[in-house]
């Protein structure tokens, strides 16, 4: 039994490390997200519609170990706090097979005030086509995708000249057209259960 367990862990690890990270998905700006339910880091079932904001919702793909996410954590918390008051909610989602629940939970408690959902089997990463962390999807109140990609244009945070996500929020809140609806998120490849 022990041997079988070790074998299973080894197979999962091999698949995880060999992951190509390229998700095939047609989920593009304008598409509508169906409601879904996942467990949060406390094991509680949470649905997207329960957690969404009255003016919009951000689904942010996170990792407990990715150095790029670590560089963004302070900015993510600040943006989430700034816009929570304006009716835009953040929901974290972790799809990395290589990160244990305990690890994700302690990291979430340390860094975020919003819930972090556990995407077992990277089902939602696949459906949305998320490939890296951090990567954000901003939906309006009807769950239509308005912006997808990076939070801003500088992972170090030292030379930000384009605050993509804040700009999308502001345009949405002001009823204007979002000028940039798609950017490339730079970061760590999501470690999937299969390539």
């Amino acid at each position: 039994m022990k041997r079988i367990n070790i074998l299973i862990v080894a197979i999962v690890a091999v698949f995880a490390f060999a992951s190509a990270g390229k998700a095939q998905s047609n989920f593009a700006v304008g598409a509508t997200l169906e409601d879904f339910t996942l467990s949060d880091t406390n094991g509680k079932s949470r649905s997207f519609n329960q957690l969404k904001g009255k003016n919009g919702t951000v689904l942010v793909f996170l990792s407990a170990q990715c150095p790029v996410v670590k560089m963004y954590n302070e900015r993510i918390s600040k943006i989430a706090a700034d816009y929570a008051a304006k009716g835009i909610n953040f929901i974290g989602i972790n799809s990395n097979v290589t990160e244990s629940l305990e690890w994700v939970k302690s990291n979430a408690e340390e860094n975020y005030k919003f819930p972090v959902l556990i995407d077992k089997g990277n089902v939602w990463a696949d459906k949305l086509g998320a490939t890296v962390t951090p990567e954000v999807y901003f939906f309006n109140e009807k769950n239509a995708l308005l912006y997808h990609g990076a939070i801003d244009n500088d992972r170090s945070g030292k030379n930000i000249s384009d605050n993509f996500l804040r700009a999308a929020f502001d345009a949405k809140l002001e009823g204007k057209t979002i000028s940039k609806t798609k950017s490339n998120a730079f970061g760590c490849t999501i470690k999937r259960v299969n390539g």
Binding site: A18, T131, T189
Partner: protein
Amino acid sequence: MKNLHVFPAKAAKIIVFGFLLIQFFTLEINSQTKDAKKSLPVKAETAAALPKVTQVDASGLKNILKTNGKPLLVNFWATWCDPCREEFPDLVKIDADYGETLDFITVSLDDVEELNSGVPKFLAEMKAEMPAYLLSTQEEDTVISSVSKDWQGGLPFTILYDAEGKTAYSRMGKVKIDVLRAEINKLLPAAVK
């Protein structure tokens, strides 16, 4: 009388223990001093052997991605990226095996502060001899798009251009080394495969 007999035995034990303790610390200090003396030339030697890493910006990257009559393999990586580090030995082997028939460069996306430290140190550990660059740009999004439509920003990213500069193969995530070799082979004359 009994007490008199016990006292010297205890005292002897304490003296022996104390002696051993002094010996232990003397040996420890000597060994540390020797280690410190030994480590100095080794460190100097390592520093001297660190490979050169050239910093490039977005336009510099465009130039280094131009082919020069041969297929060109480019690996985008970073020291903090575990899959990048894991696949590196295989890439070094590819560079050694294909030699002059293939141009191969690596482009690190580490912070520019790692230009003369973390990046060359890792390359030295890997015994990597490919020309090494570090991309420093405020336009990561634009750069990612310009390299390939198939690169969504995750690392590692490996791209193979044919001799004319057309993309022959690309992969985000760890490469499957046999697949990469097969793709390179397709671009080479039968005699050099």
